[in-house]
């Protein structure tokens, strides 16, 4: 697979950085080159936070990606900022629990994921980032589901009580994307 770039954006505290890191760790586990670059500074303290992950079979040049293959937006300000930036032919994942608009772009694939509702329902309200990560993998096939699940077990294994529901939510996000986009294999 060619180089794939993902920008994840939302409020500080929505697990944006963690989701990005899980993606980067998974990419490494699959033997790809990866870069994770955060926005840093005042954003860390409750404002808009975003990070960009690049996964590539080859040496990665620029860590700065203006038009990523995929954007995952977790709140309205992020939607406004990043929906227009998705590369034509790319993917926009919208957290529809908190964003009540859709992009009118016709040159990208848009997928609405009620991530907060799904996480709330599973009794794990902070795991909207995991739902989106699952959906990202389901929709993009950038990495295999198995590797991401394994990485999550390793990296989030410390929170034992939440791990089963995290895995469940990763799967639900993945399957939702498969279903919505008419893709066959589910997990």
């Amino acid at each position: 697979m060619a180089q794939y770039e993902v920008t994840l954006a939302g409020f500080g505290g929505q697990g944006i950085m963690t989701a990005g890191q899980l993606l980067a760790y998974s990419g490494m586990a699959e033997g790809r080159k990866v870069v994770w670059l955060p926005s840093y500074g005042p954003e860390m303290r409750g404002g808009t936070a975003y990070c960009t992950v690049v996964v590539s079979p080859d040496r990665i040049g620029s860590p700065i990606i203006n038009n990523p293959t995929c954007c995952c937006v977790f709140n309205r300000p992020s939607f406004d900022k990043f929906a227009p930036r998705v590369r034509p032919g790319g993917l926009l994942l919208v957290n529809s629990s908190l964003i009540d608009v859709e992009s009118d772009r016709t040159d990208i694939t848009q997928l609405l994921v009620p991530a907060n509702d799904m996480a709330m329902k599973a009794g794990n309200p902070k795991a909207a980032n995991i739902v989106i990560l699952g959906a990202l993998i389901g929709a993009s096939e950038v990495l295999s589901y198995k590797v991401v699940e394994k990485t999550m077990k390793e990296k989030l294994g410390g929170k034992k009580d939440l791990l089963p529901s995290n895995i469940k939510l990763l799967r639900e996000g993945y399957n939702l994307a498969r279903k919505e986009l008419g893709k066959k294999e589910k997990v």
Binding site: M28, K33, V34, V35, W36, Y40, P63, I64
Partner: protein, 363 residues
Amino acid sequence: MAKILMKGNEAIAEAAIKAGCVNYFCYPITPQNEVGEYMARRLPEVGGAFLQGESEVAVGNMLFGAASTGQRVFTTSSSPGISLMQESISYMAGAHLPVVIVNIMRGGPGLGGILPAQSDYFQATKGGGHGDYRLLVLAPSTIQEAVDLMMLSFHLAEKYRNPVMIIGDGMIGQMMEPVEFPEHHEEPELPSNDLWAITGAKGREPRVIKSLFLDPKLLDDNSWNLYDKYARMEREEIRFESYRIKPKNKILIVSYGTMARICQTAIDELEKDGVSVGLFRPITLFPFPSKQIAKEAKKKNIENVLVIEMSTAQMKEDVDLAVLGAKPVKFYGETGGLVPSPDAVKEQIMKLIKNPNDELKRR
């Protein structure tokens, strides 16, 4: 050893420990705080000295005292903090002390901002503080290279008994990439510190580590001794990377650090469109690879040398001096935390290819 995904700041910290440096002094400043936080956790584990000083002025001078023991020591800071350390850096250079200083640069002057920049090039490469001295300056462009140069830096500091500075923009500190630490870190033989370190005057004459020479003849000697070290660095330590440099290229890009990676992406994409451009990436900023750049610039097909930096044309002055008018040297840059995108770089290159006489000065 398997690769691990690490933030640049933490990788720099671990690299120092792997290189046998377990002494670290710091003062908080964004965007390099993770180094101090990492060291505060790690150094007690490995039996080293960790101290958060009261200011960068004090921290630089703590480094001075610590280095005098003959043990390895380093600090990290960011631009305004590095300015405050200039006093001690000048003294340590004058007193021939081996220390390593990392500057994770943010935009300036003044308090500036906290986003990535390369605006401390002059400060790093031209001395920085008062007096006739230079630092050996290394500029990594990936986290792995930051690790490798960090480990090398202690060796170089001791080889020359001179402060070594590693400069990276904020991205080098904040970015995560897979890194590998060499299993066994072996170094070529270094001059023994038995002849100069302060260990107590037992069985020998008392020693003084100082930069004070009121006798002009002695100060002159010291300055020329320093000069000779820098001349030796120029012979032995020049490091750089060439990327897609070919005889048919019309443009030679010169760029360093993260900016050079962004240029690589632009160059790769242009190559796909049939436009061939080469990149020269200095890794040592002092000593500067002037001869090597001049050699590339003077090649027949080169119409323009294009320097790209996240500053207002600081390294460009050294490229100008290297090329000495043999070819036009153009500049493109953004500052203050704005980072030129690969698209912006491509646009500038295409402008120059269409109109070789264009002046590109700013974003």
